[in-house]
């Protein structure tokens, strides 16, 4: 097992060229990576993951991952499970769109205002899952290090 000094969460997004929800996943993941949780997350490149990228696959074996998919076909989640390990969390944009009552979100190339709003919602959900996973990891490492502090 490699030396893993800091726990991080790997975010893997579908490539999503066929649906605007795929574009939402990319925007949401980049938002978490760049703005919301830059110290706690890394992206895993799905094309590279599929093509055999050992860095991506090794990371997903040793760190928790969140798969973010545009639709119920769940390419990112399936790929992660197939080539590394089951993702710790799986988010599907079409499900979140239903929950928050989103209307038409634009095209694969250009999201409209509703699409950008949906991307923010998805980013929020990813952030919550990230925090949850890292809290769990911190609790586990507290237990391992000896008598716990309150």
């Amino acid at each position: 097992m490699p030396d893993l000094p800091k726990k991080k969460v790997g975010l893997i997004s579908c490539s999503g060229e066929e649906l605007p929800e795929g574009t939402v996943t990319r925007r949401a993941v980049r938002k978490v990576l760049e703005t919301l949780r830059p110290d706690d997350t890394v992206t895993l490149c799905l094309p590279l993951f599929l093509a055999g990228g050992e860095g991506e696959r090794a990371f997903a074996r040793h760190y928790p991952t969140i798969a973010v998919d545009g639709c119920e076909k769940r390419c990112a989640a399936l790929a992660t499970e197939k080539y590394s390990a089951k993702p710790a969390a799986s988010i599907v944009v079409t499900e979140i769109a239903k929950e928050c009552g989103c209307g038409a979100i634009g095209t694969t190339r250009r999201l409209n205002a509703e699409g950008l709003r949906l991307a923010d919602e998805v980013a929020g959900k990813i952030m919550e899952e990230t925090d949850q996973l890292l809290k769990k990891k911190r609790k586990d490492s507290d237990k391992e290090s000896g008598p716990g502090k309150p």
């Binding site: 490699p2 790997g10 990576l33 830059p38 890394v42 860095g55 090794a58 990371f59």
Partner: protein, 149 residues
């Protein structure tokens, strides 16, 4: 080149540092071959700076001091002025990089070398550089601080 390399993993990135090379603080490696030194970008430097599109070295015959620019490497992200880890005269440059600059990324310690310099005092040159373990420690601090993406 032997396979005896130190490795550093930061997040999903893995960096290699062959143990038989010397390294400057700027991340340029040097392999001493008699009175000559072959130089190139370390694995850490090539990953950090992105895909190399162009690499232009000083002309053969150019005499430079340690720390002077010996090459300019243009990546998708940045243009890097490469400081020479050793002083000396440029005697060979890697002509393969004109058509295939990506060799710097694909094989940074092998086919992606940049130039060979004739070095005056090899012992002094080595003494001014870091060994693999020392450079790895430096790269580790930089990599963790930068949160490479």
């Amino acid at each position: 080149m032997g396979d005896n390399a130190l490795e550093l993993t930061v997040d999903k990135f893995r960096f290699r540092f062959p143990a038989d090379l010397f390294y400057s603080e700027a991340g340029i490696w040097a392999r001493f071959e008699g009175s000559r030194a072959r130089i190139g970008l370390s694995d850490f430097m090539q990953q950090r700076n992105g895909d190399v599109a162009f690499a232009e070295m000083k002309d053969v015959g150019t005499v430079i001091q340690r720390g002077d620019e010996v090459a300019v490497v243009e990546t998708i992200k940045v243009n890097i002025s490469v400081p020479s880890p050793v002083g000396g005269k440029v005697v060979v440059v890697n002509g393969d990089l004109a058509a295939a600059a990506e060799l710097v990324n694909q094989d940074p310690y092998g086919k992606g070398w940049l130039a060979v310099l004739e070095v005056g005092d090899v012992a002094a040159a080595k003494a001014s550089l870091k060994i693999a373990a020392e450079y790895l420690a430096l790269a580790k601090v930089q990599a963790e601080a930068e949160a490479l993406r």
